[in-house]
C-alpha cells in the first residue's frame, strides 16, 4: 500500500505559563492509503495531539508531517485551512453540529467553501446523508436528533467533500453501546466499501477492534501495533 501519512521524528511541546510540557517525543509513523488506524493510549499519552498534527490543525515543534506527499507542517495558516477543507473530514466526540442549522445545512457547511453550485451541493449533501442512513432527517435540527443520529450527521459532514483522510477523536465516546456499534459499523463501511482512510483515537478496545491497525502511545512515545491488535481480538 502507498503511504498516505508520513510522520517523521515529530516532537510537540506545549507551553503552559512558563513551563514546557512535552507531549510527543520523536514519533515516526506511516499510515497507508485506505487504512483504518486506531490510536490508543492513556490520557496524556499524546494521541489527540498526534491526530491534530495529521489533521493539520496543529504544528509540530520539531519534525515533519507529510500527507499525500505534501509537507503540511510547512504550510501557511491560510493554505492549511484550504487544505483541510478539501482533504480532511472531522468527527468529534460531542458531534459538534451547529445547533441553529438543520442536518442538511450542517452537512452543507464544508461545501460552502467549494465552487459547487447550489444544485450540486444539494446532490452531495443528499448522497452523504443517505450513506449514513439519514435521508429522512434532513430537516431535523440537532436538538431533534438522538446522539447516534447526531454523530451520523457529523460523519456525513466529514465525508461530504470526499476527503483524503477522515480523523475521528473518540467518535463513540458519548454514545450508548448500540449507537456506538452502529457508528463503528458505519466507519468500517466507509473504510471497506468506500476505501476511506480513517484515523481514530479511542479508549475503547471494542472500537479499536474495528480498525485494521492499532498504534499504542504512551508518554509521547509510540508502541507498535500488530501485537496489540492481536491482544485485543483475543480478549474479545
Amino acid at each position: 500500500m502507498n503511504q498516505l501519512v508520513e510522520i517523521r521524528d515529530v516532537h510537540k511541546v506545549y507551553k503552559r505559563d512558563s513551563f514546557d510540557v512535552p507531549v510527543l517525543n520523536g514519533v515516526s509513523v506511516s499510515v497507508p492509503k485506505g487504512d483504518f488506524l486506531a490510536l490508543m493510549g492513556p490520557s496524556g499519552s499524546g494521541k489527540t495531539t498526534l491526530l491534530n498534527l495529521i489533521a493539520g490543525i496543529d504544528r509540530p515543534t520539531r519534525g515533519q508531517v507529510f500527507v499525500d506527499g505534501k509537507e503540511i507542517s510547512a504550510f501557511s495558516e491560510t493554505k492549511l485551512a484550504g487544505w483541510r477543507a478539501t482533504h480532511v473530514g472531522f468527527i468529534f466526540q460531542m458531534y459538534n453540529l451547529i445547533p441553529v442549522l438543520n442536518a442538511f445545512d450542517n452537512v452543507e457547511l464544508p461545501l460552502l467553501l467549494t465552487k459547487l453550485n447550489k444544485r450540486q451541493r444539494k446532490e452531495h449533501v443528499e448522497t452523504a446523508l443517505s450513506v449514513v442512513g439519514l435521508s429522512d432527517r434532513m430537516n431535523h435540527y440537532p436538538r431533534q436528533l438522538s446522539g447516534g443520529q447526531e454523530q451520523r450527521v457529523s460523519i456525513a459532514r466529514a465525508v461530504v467533500t470526499d476527503p483524503t483522510i477522515i480523523v475521528a477523536d473518540e467518535p463513540t465516546g458519548d454514545l450508548d453501546a448500540k449507537s456506538a456499534h452502529e457508528i463503528l459499523d458505519l466507519l468500517q463501511q466507509l473504510n471497506r466499501q468506500h476505501q476511506k482512510t480513517i484515523i481514530m483515537v479511542t479508549h475503547d478496545p471494542k472500537a479499536a477492534e474495528r480498525a485494521r491497525h492499532v498504534l499504542h502511545l504512551d508518554k509521547g512515545v509510540l508502541v507498535e501495533s500488530q501485537e496489540v491488535l492481536h491482544e485485543i481480538r483475543q480478549a474479545h
Partner: protein, 382 residues
C-alpha cells in the same frame, strides 16, 4: 451569499437576547434621531429667512431696546428700499401663561409688501386691514386653540400693561412659521404710548434688489451711528440665527448628548456581542477545523453584528419617522417645533451611525474569534 443562512440563523440564535438588544438599539436611535431632528429643525428655522430680500433693524445696544418712530421716515429715504414696517414683540399670552406663542404688533398696511411670504385669502387680508382690532393668526395656532374667522380673543400682556382684545380676521399659511399672531401696531401704540414714549421694537425693510442688501444695511447703520439710538441691521437669516443663539448653545448640548447615547449603546452592544461570540467558541473552532479561514470567520461575525446594529438603527429611526408623522409636535411643544419630522438626511446619519456601532461593538469579539487557535477552541470539544 452562501453564508446568509448561517448569519441569519446565528443572528436569531438567542431570540430573547437579540430582541432585547434590538429594542435597546432602537430606543437609543429613536432618541438620537429625535435630537438630531430638533437640531435640524432649529437649523431650518435659523435659515428660514434666507432668500428673503428683508433686513431687520434693531437697536445696536440690544434687541430689548426699542427704536424711535422717527427712524422709519429716515430709513425710507434710502434708495433701493421697497417698503419699511414696524414690528413690535408684544409677549402676551392667551388665557393662561402656559398658552404662550409669538405675537407681534405690525404695520397692518405693510403686511402685503414687507411680509408677503405669509399667504392668506385677499378678503381676509382686507378685513384685517379694515378692523383696527383685527388679527391674523398662523394656521397651526388657529388649529391649536380652535380659532375661526370672526372669533374674539383677548391676550394678556406681560411686558406691557395692555390686554389686546382682538377679532380673528385672517388665518395665514407660512413655510415655517404657522404659530405667530399679528395685530395692528396703531392699536398697540395707542394703548402703550405713555409707557413706551412712542417707540418700536424693530423695523423691517423690504429691499428691491438682493444685491443691494449689504449696501443698504451699511447705510442704515451709518445714518444712526452718532445718534442717541444707533442701529444694527441684519439680514433675516442673521436675525433668526441671533435669535436662536439666545436660547444657548443647544446644538453643542444636543450633539454631546447624542454622542454619549451612541457611546452607551456601543458599550452595551459590545457586551451582548461578546457574550454571543463567547458561547460560540467551540463552533468557531469546528468551522476553522473544517477549512474556514480566520478572515471568513471575521467577515461572517462582523456581518452578523453589523446587521444587528443596522436593524436596531433602522427600527429606531423609522419608528421616530413614523411617530412624528402622526404626532403633531407643533401642538405638543406649543409651537416650539414647527414642521417637525425626521428627514432623509437625519435618517441616513442615524443608519450610518448604527452600522458604525455594529462595527465598533462587534469588531473585538469577531476579531478574537477569527484569531482563535483551532486546538484551543477544540480542547473544549475533543
Amino acid at each position: 451569499m452562501k453564508f446568509v443562512k448561517l448569519i441569519r440563523r446565528n443572528l436569531f440564535r438567542n431570540k430573547l437576547r437579540t430582541i432585547l438588544t434590538l429594542i435597546l438599539m432602537a430606543a437609543i436611535f429613536f432618541f438620537v434621531s429625535t435630537l438630531l431632528s430638533i437640531l435640524e429643525n432649529f437649523e431650518t428655522a435659523a435659515n428660514s429667512g434666507e432668500g428673503q430680500n428683508r433686513l431687520g433693524v434693531q437697536s445696536a445696544i440690544s434687541l430689548a431696546n426699542p427704536l424711535p418712530l422717527s427712524h422709519e421716515a429716515k430709513i425710507a429715504t434710502i434708495p433701493g428700499i421697497v417698503d419699511i414696517a414696524k414690528l413690535q414683540w408684544v409677549g402676551a399670552y392667551y388665557k393662561e401663561p402656559k398658552n404662550f406663542f409669538a405675537n407681534f404688533a405690525v404695520d397692518h398696511e405693510k403686511m402685503q409688501t414687507v411680509w408677503d411670504d405669509y399667504s392668506l385669502p385677499k378678503d381676509q387680508l382686507e378685513a384685517f386691514k379694515a378692523d383696527r382690532r383685527g388679527t391674523i393668526v398662523g394656521e397651526e395656532l388657529a388649529k391649536r386653540y380652535g380659532w375661526k374667522i370672526g372669533d374674539r380673543i383677548v391676550l394678556i400682556g406681560q411686558i406691557f400693561p395692555f390686554n389686546p382684545e382682538l377679532t380673528v380676521r385672517g388665518i395665514a399659511h407660512h413655510k415655517f412659521d404657522n404659530s405667530s399672531l399679528f395685530f395692528h401696531f396703531d392699536y398697540f401704540h395707542e394703548a402703550t404710548k405713555e409707557m413706551t414714549g412712542g417707540m418700536a421694537g424693530t423695523y423691517w425693510v423690504r429691499v428691491k434688489d438682493p444685491k443691494d442688501m449689504s449696501r443698504i444695511s451699511q447705510q442704515i447703520d451709518d445714518m444712526f451711528r452718532n445718534s442717541e439710538y444707533p442701529t444694527e441691521t441684519f439680514t433675516e437669516k442673521e436675525f433668526q440665527q441671533q435669535f436662536m443663539a439666545m436660547i444657548g448653545n443647544i446644538k453643542l448640548l444636543f450633539t454631546v448628548v447624542s454622542v454619549c447615547a451612541i457611546f452607551m449603546v456601543i458599550l452595551l452592544a459590545a457586551i451582548t456581542m461578546s457574550m454571543a461570540a463567547r458561547e460560540r467558541v467551540t463552533e468557531v473552532a469546528v468551522l476553522k477545523a473544517i477549512g474556514y479561514t480566520g478572515g471568513m470567520i471575521l467577515a461572517i461575525m462582523l456581518i452578523e453584528f453589523v446587521t444587528l446594529g443596522f436593524i436596531g438603527g433602522l427600527l429606531g429611526t423609522l419608528g421616530a419617522k413614523l411617530v412624528y408623522r402622526f404626532v403633531n409636535m407643533t401642538e405638543v411643544t406649543q409651537g416650539f417645533l414647527v414642521n417637525f419630522g425626521v428627514d432623509a438626511k437625519t435618517a441616513l446619519t442615524c443608519l450610518i451611525a448604527a452600522i458604525i456601532v455594529g462595527f465598533l461593538a462587534g469588531g473585538l469579539p469577531a476579531l478574537r474569534s477569527a484569531r482563535l487557535s483551532v486546538v484551543d477552541g477544540l480542547r473544549k470539544v475533543w
